[in-house]
C-alpha cells in the first residue's frame, strides 16, 4: 500500500461515493469524520517506508505511487504535515455539526483535501497548480448552492484562480532555463515576474485579492473559510517547494526581500481594510489576507528562523480561522445578512459565538497572550531588523484588524435585546435553533477553543514538536 493511495486516492474515492448518498441525514458527515480521523491517526502513528510487523502480517506504507509516468510521493518527512492537514480536515468536518454547510460538504471536502494532498505529492511539484485549480473547481457547488444566483465575486474567483495555472506552469519551464544559465538577468527577471504573478493570483495577494471579499458577501462563511484556508496553506507550502528546489531562488536575497515586502503590504492592507468593514464576511476575508501576509513575511525572513516561524504561525492561524468561520457561519444562519447593523439580535442570542469571533479577530491581529502572538512577535522582531518601514506597516495592519474586532465587540455589547419569540421552553427546540446558553455543542466548541487559544498563547512551547515540519525543506532550513 502506498501513502498516495491512503491519503489521496482513498479520500477522493470515498468523497465521490458520499456524493451519491441522497438521504437528508448526517450519515455522510459521520463517515467523513471517521475516515478523516483514521487517516490522521495513521499519519500520526505509522511511519512511512518502514515494514511493520503486526503478528503474522507485515505492513509497509510505500512513499511513492507512479501514475501516468509521474510519481506521487508522500515521504516520512511529510508525515507530520499529513497529520496536520487531516487533523484540520477533521476539525472542519466536526464544525459542520454546528454550521450545517450543506449535504455536499462531507464528500466534497474529502475530494478537495485529496486533491490538495495530490498537489503536495506530485513530482515534478510544478504540476501542483493544476491540482489546486481542480480543487477549487470541485468546491464551486458549495460556494454557489443550487437555487442561488452566483455573483461577480464567483466570476472573479474563477478567473483569477485559473489565471495562476498558466503562470506557474510556465514559471517552472523558465526556472529550468535559469538553472542552466543563472547569469542571464533577463531570463531571471521574467521567471521571477511570472512566478510573482502566479502566486499573487493563487494566494489572492494585492491587487488580485478582490474576489475574496466579494465572494464573502455572496456565500456561506464556513465554505469560503475552508477553501481559502486550505488553498493558501497548500499554496504557501508549494511556494516553499519552489524555494527549496531552485538554488538561485534560495541564494537570492532579493527574492526574500520581495516576499517580505509583499507580506507586509498584505498585512497592512488586510488590517486597514478589515477595520473599515461593516460586513463580517468581508472582515473575515480581509483578516485572511492579513494572515496570508503574515505567513509570507515569515517565509521572507529566510533561513531556519523564517521556516520555523512560518510553521509556528500556520498552526495557530488554522485554529483561529476555523473558529472564526464557524462562528460567522452560525450567525449567518440566524440572520439575513452579516452586516453589523443587522446582526444585533443574532449577537445577543449567540454571545459565546460572538465572543469567539471577537477573540479570533484580535488573535489574528497578534494580541498578546493569544495563540498566534508568539509567532507574530518573532516576525515583528525579524522584520524590524530588516526594515523599520515594513515593521510600521505590519503594526498598522495589526491595529486595523484589532479595530475591526473591537467594532464587532461594540456592535455586540450595544445590540438591542432580542424580542422574545412566542415559543415554548428552549429545551424543546432542536439544538440548531437554541440560543448559545442552552446549546451544549456551542458551549463545548467555544470553551475548548478559547482554552486552547489561551493555552497556546501562554505556553507556546506546547507545539514545539511541530517544528519538525521544517525537515520537509532541508535546504531552506540550512
Amino acid at each position: 500500500m502506498s501513502s498516495a493511495f491512503l491519503w489521496i486516492l482513498l479520500p477522493i474515492a470515498v468523497g465521490a461515493a458520499l456524493l451519491l448518498y441522497r438521504r437528508k441525514d448526517d450519515t455522510p458527515l459521520y463517515l467523513a469524520i471517521g475516515l478523516s480521523f483514521i487517516l490522521t491517526w495513521i499519519a500520526w502513528q505509522f511511519p512511512i517506508d518502514v515494514v511493520l510487523q503486526l503478528g503474522s502480517i507485515s505492513i509497509e506504507i510505500a512513499p511513492t505511487l507512479t501514475f501516468l509516468g509521474r510519481n506521487f510521493t508522500l515521504a516520512e518527512t511529510q508525515r507530520l504535515l499529513l497529520t496536520f492537514i487531516y487533523l484540520a480536515q477533521t476539525l472542519w468536518l466536526l464544525g459542520a455539526f454546528l454550521t450545517r454547510p450543506g449535504q455536499l460538504f462531507p464528500g466534497l471536502s474529502l475530494i478537495a483535501v485529496g486533491l490538495f494532498m495530490a498537489a503536495l505529492a506530485v513530482q515534478p511539484f510544478l504540476y501542483a497548480a493544476l491540482f489546486l485549480a481542480a480543487a477549487f473547481l470541485v468546491w464551486v457547488p458549495l460556494l454557489v448552492p443550487p437555487g442561488t444566483q452566483p455573483g461577480r465575486g464567483m466570476q472573479r474567483a474563477l478567473i483569477f484562480l485559473l489565471f495562476s495555472v498558466p503562470c506557474i506552469l510556465f514559471t517552472g519551464w523558465l526556472l529550468t532555463g535559469v538553472e542552466g544559465n543563472p547569469g542571464n538577468f533577463e531570463l531571471v527577471l521574467r521567471a521571477g515576474l511570472l512566478m510573482a504573478l502566479g502566486f499573487s493570483f493563487l494566494l489572492a495577494l494585492f491587487p488580485f485579492h478582490s474576489w475574496v471579499p466579494m465572494l464573502a458577501q455572496e456565500t456561506a462563511p464556513y465554505v469560503l473559510g475552508f477553501l481559502t484556508f486550505f488553498l493558501r496553506a497548500v499554496a504557501l507550502i508549494f511556494l516553499l517547494s519552489f524555494v527549496e528546489r531552485y538554488v538561485w531562488l534560495r541564494d537570492n536575497p532579493a527574492i526574500f526581500q520581495l516576499l517580505l515586502a509583499m507580506g507586509s503590504l498584505g498585512v497592512f492592507l488586510g488590517g486597514v481594510w478589515a477595520s473599515q468593514q461593516r460586513h463580517l464576511g468581508r472582515m473575515m476575508a480581509f483578516a485572511g489576507m492579513l494572515a496570508t501576509g503574515g505567513l509570507l513575511q515569515a517565509i521572507g525572513l529566510g533561513g531556519a528562523v523564517g521556516l520555523q516561524t512560518f510553521f509556528a504561525l500556520l498552526l495557530p492561524q488554522a485554529w483561529v480561522l476555523w473558529a472564526l468561520a464557524a462562528s460567522l457561519a452560525v450567525l449567518h444562519r440566524h440572520t439575513p445578512s452579516l452586516q453589523l447593523e443587522e446582526l444585533g439580535p443574532a449577537l445577543r442570542r449567540h454571545p459565546l459565538l460572538a465572543l469567539t469571533a471577537v477573540a479570533a479577530l484580535v488573535a489574528l491581529a497578534g494580541l498578546p497572550l493569544l495563540g498566534p502572538f508568539a509567532a507574530h512577535l518573532a516576525i515583528w522582531h525579524g522584520v524590524g531588523q530588516q526594515s523599520v518601514g515594513l515593521l510600521i506597516l505590519s503594526f498598522l495592519g495589526s491595529l486595523g484588524l484589532l479595530a475591526g474586532g473591537l467594532r464587532l465587540l461594540h456592535a455586540w455589547l450595544t445590540a438591542a435585546p432580542e424580542p422574545r419569540a412566542p415559543v415554548g421552553p428552549v429545551e424543546r427546540l432542536p439544538f440548531s435553533q437554541r440560543p448559545d446558553m442552552a446549546n451544549p455543542y456551542v458551549w463545548v466548541f467555544s470553551l475548548i477553543w478559547l482554552v486552547t487559544l489561551l493555552g497556546y498563547g501562554l505556553l507556546p512551547s506546547f507545539l514545539a514538536p511541530v517544528q519538525r515540519l521544517v525537515l520537509m525543506f532541508p535546504q531552506v532550513f540550512q
Partner: protein, 196 residues
C-alpha cells in the same frame, strides 16, 4: 506545405476567436469555439503525436457541447450590451490591439526560445490575448467560460512545445472540462431546486 498549413491554421484561429469575441449569438459563438479547437489541434500536431493532440480536440468539443446544451435549456436573455454597435466596434478595436501585440511579440518569442515555431507562437499568443479580452470585455458565466477556454487553448498550444507529459495532458483536460462543467452549473444554479 507546412508553412501553408501553419499560416492557414493561424488565420482561421484569428477568424474564429474574433467571431467568439464580437458575436452576440451564443449558438454561433459555440460553433466558432468548436472550430477553434480544430485549428488549435492543427498547431498542436507540430509538437505532439496525433494520438495525444486529438485529446485536446475531443476535450474542446465536449466542453463546447456542454456549454451549448446548457445554454440551449436556459431562457433567451436580452443583455443591455446586446445590439449596441459601439460595443462591437470597441471589441473589434480591442482585438486589433491584441493582433498588433501578437505580431510584435511572436517573432521575439521564437528568437528568445528556439523551442517555439512561429505559427505556434502566433496561434498561442493570439488565443491568450483574445481569451483575456473576452474575460475583460464580456459579462456573465457563459462568456467567462468562452474566455477561459480560449485562454487555455492558447496556453496549451505554447505549453505543448515544452511539456508532453501524459499526466499534464490529462490534468489540463480535466481543468478544461471542469471549466465547462462549472460554468454550466453556475448558469443553471439559480433554476435548480434548493437543498433544504
Amino acid at each position: 506545405m507546412a508553412d501553408f498549413v501553419g499560416t492557414l491554421a493561424v488565420l482561421l484561429l484569428l477568424i474564429t476567436s474574433l467571431y467568439v469575441l464580437v458575436n452576440q449569438d451564443w449558438r454561433w459563438a459555440v460553433a466558432a469555439l468548436g472550430l477553434q479547437y480544430v485549428w488549435a489541434f492543427v498547431l498542436l500536431l507540430q509538437a505532439w503525436p496525433a494520438e495525444l493532440a486529438v485529446v485536446k480536440l475531443v476535450t474542446g468539443w465536449i466542453a463546447a457541447s456542454v456549454l451549448g446544451l446548457t445554454r440551449l435549456n436556459l431562457p433567451q436573455l436580452t443583455t443591455p450590451e446586446g445590439n449596441v454597435p459601439s460595443g462591437r466596434v470597441f471589441r473589434l478595436l480591442a482585438a486589433g490591439l491584441v493582433i498588433l501585440m501578437v505580431l510584435g511579440a511572436a517573432p521575439r518569442l521564437t528568437e528568445w526560445s528556439r523551442a517555439f515555431g512561429i505559427y505556434q507562437a502566433w496561434g498561442g499568443l493570439l488565443l491568450l490575448g483574445m481569451g483575456l479580452m473576452q474575460l475583460a470585455l464580456r459579462n456573465g458565466f457563459f462568456r467567462t467560460a468562452l474566455g477561459l477556454l480560449t485562454l487555455f487553448s492558447g496556453f496549451e498550444i505554447l505549453y505543448a512545445v515544452v511539456e508532453g507529459s501524459t499526466l499534464v495532458t490529462g490534468l489540463l483536460t480535466a481543468v478544461n472540462l471542469g471549466i465547462a462543467l462549472v460554468c454550466a452549473y453556475l448558469l443553471t444554479a439559480p433554476t435548480l431546486e434548493t437543498e433544504e
